[in-house]
């Protein structure tokens, strides 16, 4: 167990190092305009001097080393165009709480909607006539999966704000404007939870232990709640840390659409303003979240599922 964790941790750290280096090197290929807020007005000698001052004329390995050391010290650099000269860490600190609040609410909402929907769909599989929930859920899942999110969010924003009689944009003071972004963000993961929970539950329902439990006279309710649901939910636990971590970063699209001053909206803003240092840091943060989320998910699985063991696997190649 400890060996496994150490191995996974080293692998994750190496992955992070590779990702950071690749992102750093790629962003260095960008035109240098992205490091100045008033590039057009500067003359060549000033630009040259500023580049030297920022250390951008040094050879790449030197720059990379400095960047990594700064990261370790918690120094994320300063913004060059978005808000000139402000440390990126300070900008992020004002953004993260908003994304976190919205993200956690939407995650709770999607679990609250997705899990019951998945269970209802799986249950209606077991009856021969009452396929109502399965049909409703399938239509919902197909719609959410097939129609690009970028499209249905637009319509939800326009018609939802008309129905709720609120502004189309987010405002911290008005609680009603929180509703639509949270619902928008939760739709995708609701469909995801419902789809996979249904699939895992149907798989479990066809297993022999269910028949045995029924033969013993356990009621259907109990079979579903005690046995089937628990077993079916285990594979989904793996994704919870990732979704939890992504609440920090927020949804790129929804936050930008509703002008929410969070992390996701920030990424779109800095891309549009070509603020190289900020794009670089945000991309690195997003990738790190992916890596760390998967790592935590695997660990959680190991901790929860007793079927996973670390005995030497036999016959694995």
């Amino acid at each position: 167990m400890t060996r496994y964790i150490v191995k996974r941790l080293t692998a994750a750290i190496i992955t992070l190092l590779i990702i950071i280096s690749v992102v750093f090197i790629l962003v260095r290929q960008m035109p240098i305009e992205g490091y100045f807020d008033n590039f057009d007005k500067l003359d060549a000698s000033v630009i040259r001097a500023r580049l030297v001052q920022m250390g951008l004329t040094d050879p790449l390995p030197t720059q990379l080393k400095r960047f990594l050391l700064n990261l370790l010290r918690g120094d994320l650099g300063t913004s060059s165009r978005y808000s000139v000269g402000v440390p990126i860490g300070r900008i992020l600190l004002t953004k993260i709480p908003i994304s976190l609040q919205l993200g956690l609410s939407s995650m709770a909402l999607s679990l609250l909607m997705g899990v019951p929907l998945g269970v209802a769909m799986a249950r209606s599989q077991t009856r021969y006539k009452a396929r109502f929930w399965d049909a409703i859920g399938t239509v919902f899942i197909v719609f959410i999966n097939a129609v690009p999110a970028a499209v249905y969010h637009i319509y939800l924003q326009a018609f939802g704000s008309r129905a709720l009689n609120t502004s189309m944009l987010f405002s911290r003071e008005q609680p009603l404007t929180w509703v639509l972004p949270i619902v928008s963000m939760s739709l995708g993961s609701t469909a995801y939870y419902a789809m996979w929970l249904r699939r895992y539950m149907v798989d479990e329902l066809n297993k022999d232990y269910v028949a045995l439990a029924q033969a013993k006279g356990v009621t259907n309710q109990k079979v579903l709640a005690r046995h089937v649901f628990r077993n079916a939910f285990v594979p989904m636990i793996q994704y919870l840390p990732t979704s939890l971590l992504y609440t920090i970063s927020g949804s790129i699209y929804v936050e930008s659409l509703y002008s929410i001053p969070g992390m996701g909206g920030l990424l779109v803003d800095v891309i549009r303003r070509q603020d190289n240092p900020m794009v670089q840091i945000l991309v690195i943060i997003y990738s790190c979240i992916g890596v760390v989320g998967l790592l935590l998910g695997d660990m959680l699985m190991v901790a929860i599922d007793p079927r996973i063991s670390f005995a030497k696997k036999a016959g694995a190649r």
């Binding site: 097939a146 930008s256 997003y286 992916g290 190649r317």
Partner: protein, 470 residues
Amino acid sequence: MIRPSAAISRKLEESRAVEAIADGSPPRDPSLFMEQPFDRSNAERIGYSNYSYWGSTFRAFLKRPIAVILLCVLAALIAFTFIQPKLPGQYPATLIINHPLTKRQLSSVPPTLSTVLTTAGEGTLLTVRPYDDPEWAAVTNLVSVIQRRTKFTVLEYAGDWLRARVGDDEGWIANDFANKLKLPDDPAAVPYESQSNFPVNMFLSPNDYTSAGNELFARRSDLLIDETGGSAVTIRETPLRILPYQNGFWFGTNLIGQDLWALVWSGTRTSLFIGFMVALMEAGIGILIGIVWGYVRRLDRILTEIYNVLDNIPTTIVLILVSYIMRPSVRTLIFAMCLTTWVGMARFIRNQIVIIRDRDYNLASRCLGTPLPRVIVRNLLPYLVSVIMLRMALAIPSAIGSEVFITYIGLGLPVSVPSLGNLINEGRKLLSTSQSYQLVFPTIVLSIITISFYMIGNAFADSADPKNHR
């Protein structure tokens, strides 16, 4: 009730059979059984199976009516995107359509089936503007434009319209929301002075025979034009057109006066091209690397490590980063999307090959000296067809969706290249206005395409699975 599992009922039957044997009793009723004579044709039938994989897949697919209908719709739609530019009377997609006289862009013309904007009744007096065409005349009933905050005298009040005089000009003014006329409490007590904070159009008759102030076009044969050529009277019901030709804007025009119908189909072509290319590249690269990964044991460790790194990075982030660094173009988008999507395909192929590689029939092939490429193509790939097809079918809608997303962020194709992402991004700003059709039409076409690919892909994957063949 939860269905009794097949395994349990099988076990029940087995136990009954065991009981019967243990009993030692012969079948109870001999008349239920009779001896069968040897039948050659029956014997041959047993030895022959008419199962064919593709035939069964096809039949299983046909049993899903929704998927079949969507397949037809999708096929028709894709065919139409290629036929559309060759149809008669189509505007080129990027052509900005100007008014022939004023040279102003025909922006935001609502969807119409023909260019007829309105019809003028018999005997309508119109002003003819110089327009050199044997068939068409440019007409208007605009007298003059009253500048903003200019006082005019109201001579007659008729609800929606009122007759007014400015200097020597006399004509009709619309009393509507756009003009916001300042009227006294009793507007019927004429005459009085009035004004507006906006420029106001004054017409010859209580009708607006212009398109936003621009001249309309009528056939010269419908008009009786006086000898100076400055005015005309209609001699019958006369259709007045926004352009001197027949073909209308079925989906309207956009803000800069391009035909949305042509733009939507041209954009669909671009988006479908991106989708198909991404799907093909994903399949090509994924299958190639997957086979190498699964078959060459020495490479397994390295490729697995590479996979672990690549799989950890969110696809969206790679897409954003690559589009940020490279110049926006169709090629950039395809490249950015292909960069990570093949990983999932390669892993799947690798896992399947590791499973199938050492089965008996493959060992037999190897012992018989079958060359490796043939083993891969004939023995391994047929097992993977259904999932490869499914992944390709799902890659297309997700590529189209990614294009929309990337365009929204501002890293998509330049506006001069029509694509569904560009159209949706332009139309997005107009959803709450009367011009919402500029968003609605592209999204309808886009949704039909993505939903069809999704449903067809899933239906095909189900029917390609031999477990569903009966």
